[in-house]
Structure formats: C-alpha cells, structure tokens
C-alpha cells in the first residue's frame, strides 16, 4: 500500500537551513548584480510531451462559444517541408480590451469574461488549433500602439530551447503598419508573422527552417 504523505507541500519552514546558492555564496537576501543565480538550462520537450502536457481544455484561450471567438489553425513545418506531428504550440495574449488576466500587468489584472489568454495545442493531427479572441492594441512604450498580436512558443523534439514568434492579423493592416516590431522587419520577414483569414478564423503556419523560415524572436 502507498504510504500517505499528507499534503506534500505542507513542509514547515526550517530557519536553521537557509537557502544556499550552489555557487557557495550564502543566501542572506535577494541577489543582484554579479551575485545572481544561474538559470536552469532548457531542454527539449522530447517526443513524449503528450504524457505530461495534455489538457482537456488546452486549446481554449477563450471558453468555447465566447462571443467573437474564432480558431487559429496551422501546421509546424521542418526544414525538409515535412509537417511536425509532435510539437506543442502555446499562445499568450491580451483580451479584446487590451488587458491581461495577470497580476504582472502594471495596469492591474483584467478579468474579461471567459478569457484565459493562454492556450496550448499539440500537432498530433498534423495541425494545431487554438480558440481565442482578437487581442486589443497595447502601448508599445515608445508613445505608439502595438498591433493586435499573440506571443507564441513552440516546443518539440529536436528543439532544445523553445522558439518564440508572434501572430499578427492580415485584417489589421493599418495597425500592423504602425507596429514597432513589424516596422523593424523586411516585407518578407513580416509576411511570416501574419495570420490569414481561414474557414473559421485564421491560418498561421510555422516554418522552422528554409526559405520561408518564420521570424523567431529572442526574448
């Protein structure tokens, strides 16, 4: 029989054993400047991500049936033109009013009905699908507004650190022309970030390599 361990997180604080960074520096407070902890190195999600990362509601950045909701569908394509069937695509975005359901937003966390802002979808069928709402425009920190966009992370076997891109929308041409990120790119680069209208929403294909390689971002 399995021995009960109770609440596994209910561990009493033990002040006689303060956290000690692996570097040997005594942890006497928050660290800054050169005394920072080294971050844990990334690794590939591997071929078996479906075991650990499948959620029944993963594809829904907005609840099914939310007014104004649509699907974004697409493929992830490798350098030989083959569809990648074991990738995971994650998205994070603002709600239609430009708020985030996140306490990290300095303007305060927003609560838009039925909106999570985050979705994850695997490409087992050859395609990923995300149900969401069109994000609002956001200040760009330089006095202008960003165009509606979705931040995207892609994980897969054969990718050791997530790759990051953005989805913009073909029917936001005016906003796109003002967007500080898109303005920094060539026409050809920009076209890799634009989702195009599809049957029930938009289409956004990701090219990991090759002539049509999607623009990826260092964040």
């Amino acid at each position: 029989m399995s021995k009960p361990i109770g609440n596994p997180l209910d561990v009493p604080p033990n002040p006689s054993e303060p956290f000690q960074p692996r570097s040997g520096q005594r942890g006497s407070g928050f660290l800054s400047g050169p005394h920072r902890l080294g971050t844990t190195p990334s690794a590939t999600v591997g071929p078996y991500l479906a075991i650990g990362l499948s959620w029944a509601d993963g594809e829904f950045a907005a609840e099914e049936g939310t007014s104004g909701g649509f699907w974004i569908r697409g493929t992830v394509v490798d350098g030989a033109g083959a569809v990648v069937p074991d990738a995971m695509v994650e998205t994070w975005q603002a709600d239609p009013d430009g708020g985030f359901p996140s306490p990290e937003d300095p303007r305060g966390a927003a609560t838009y009905p039925g909106f999570r802002g985050y979705a994850r979808a695997q490409t087992l069928s050859g395609e990923f699908s995300i149900f969401t709402l069109k994000p609002g425009r956001l200040p760009d920190g330089e006095g202008g507004l960003q165009a509606p966009h979705i931040d995207v992370s892609i994980f897969a076997r054969g990718i050791l650190d997530r790759v990051v891109t953005r989805i913009y929308f073909a029917d936001e041409a005016e906003a796109n022309a003002e967007d500080v990120v898109l303005r920094g790119l060539s026409d050809e680069q920009r076209s890799t970030l634009i989702a195009t209208p599809g049957d029930d929403g938009y289409r956004f294909d990701v090219y990991l390599q090759g002539e049509r390689e999607t623009v990826f971002f260092a964040v």
């Binding site: 928050f30 902890l37 844990t40 430009g98 966390a109 609002g136 050791l160 500080v180």
Partner: protein, 248 residues
C-alpha cells in the same frame, strides 16, 4: 477601439537572459533531430513589453490530489525505487516563485514511457503513468513522490542511451520565464554519451543535475533528491537610456 490603453508612464520590468556561454542552444549537431527542426537564422530581439512581462495564472485548479504521488495508479503501486523529488522554484534574483504550476513526466522504472511512440521491448507498468503535477507553496517549494526512471535507448547514434531523467515544465509569472527542462540524477555514467545533456554548455550542466538529499530520505520508505529550479529574474540594473526621446 474600446479599452485600449495608451502609452506613457508604464514602467515594465526587464528580464535578464543568460549569456550564450551558459544557455542551451536551440540546435546541437550531435542531437540529430535538431538538424531539420532548430531554426537557423538569428532570432530578432524582442524588447519586453506588456505581452512579454505578463503570464497566465495557472495553479491549484489544474492539480488533483493524487498528482503529487506518481507511485499509485489504477489501485496499485508502481514498481521501482521510490524517490521523493523536492526543491524550490526561484528566480535568478533569489526570489521564490510561489503558486507556480510544475508539470512533470517520465519513463517508468524500466525506461519505458506510456506513449504509443515508445515501443522498445521494456515492460510497461500498469500502475505507473508517469504524469505528475504540483503547485509551489508560498516559499516556492515543490515536492512529489515517484519512482526513479530507467535509462532507455533512443537511436540517436549506435547504442545511444538517455541518462535517467524527469521532464519538467514550468510557468513563472511572465511569458519570458517559461521553461521546459529535464532533471538528471547525480553521477550518471551515461552523461558522457548523451547529446541532449551535453548540449548544455559545460559551465551550466551541473544546474540540471539533482542532489542526493540525505536529509529528506525517509526511513524504511524512500530515497530523496533535491533540485532547485531557477527561472529568469528581473534585471535590477538601472536603465541608462530611459527617456532619451523618440526613437521611431
């Protein structure tokens, strides 16, 4: 457009990034699958704005009671060496990350994953599915009970074996902090031939290896391993170019 917030006055954090010398590259030639999948062009710098410094709140509502004990499934006990895996989730400033969802998955004691793609001839265990989830407590601590995963062959090169490892997926508070990684066990003799481990630059490899945790080993019950996970933290150095005018 309704509700659009106009610019000005927003002070956003900037998240630090490791130098390339201590960061896993996206591709690594010895790991063959990266050949056609790792992007080849230099990524474009994306300054941290609202979308990058925010992130989803995913916590207790995604976790069930049995998710922190992987050793009991289908009304039976998993075969293998019982281990307690514990540690803290911190940012690079040393601050704990409380309330963070930690998702883990792993092979069983014989090195087999419960997945249709994994069909090498090692037995499946009807009482082990290899999935765990926990949320960090107010001090950023996590722990789960599992069995030590086995090594397994994977065909990357002749007689290639993955060192025993547990997959981890973490959210911090911000999009920039998202991390998917693997935890290894100390002094594994398979490290030397594993390109996934060796893709990590040498000065950072120790950060992926757990520590045998004698103090949490449970008498007559389980061994223990400790692994602290460090996410990117906020850069505390002052901006030197703030308010230097229109850059458009």
């Amino acid at each position: 457009m309704t509700g659009t917030t106009t610019g000005g006055g927003l002070h956003l954090p900037r998240y630090t990034q490791e130098d390339a010398a201590t960061r896993t590259p996206v591709g690594f030639p010895d790991y063959r699958s990266t050949g056609l999948r790792a992007p080849l062009r230099t990524p474009v710098d994306l300054p941290h704005r609202l979308t990058e410094v925010t992130g989803p709140v995913l916590g207790e509502d995604r976790v069930l009671a049995h998710d922190a004990d992987l050793t009991w499934r289908n009304e039976g006990e998993a075969i293998g060496q019982r281990i307690l895996v514990h540690g803290r989730v911190l940012d690079s400033g040393g601050r704990p990350v409380p309330g963070a969802l930690v998702e883990v998955w792993q092979a069983n004691a014989s090195g087999r994953y419960r997945h249709v793609v994994d069909n090498w001839p090692a037995p499946l265990d009807p009482h082990f599915d290899g999935l765990g989830r926990v949320v960090t407590d107010s001090l950023g601590r996590y722990e789960f009970l599992t069995i030590k995963p086995g090594a397994y062959p994977w065909g990357n090169h002749h007689n290639a074996w993955r060192p025993a490892h547990i997959h981890f997926s973490l959210f911090g508070r911000a999009f920039t902090q998202r991390l998917v990684t693997q935890m290894y066990f100390p002094e594994d003799p398979l490290f030397g031939q594993d390109p996934i481990f060796n893709a990590i630059p040498a000065p950072a490899r120790h950060r992926a290896i757990s520590r045998y945790s004698l103090e949490r080993t449970q008498d007559n019950w389980a061994l223990a391993y400790e692994w602290d996970i460090v996410l990117r933290g906020v850069d505390q150095t002052p901006f030197e170019t703030e308010d230097d005018g229109d850059v458009a």
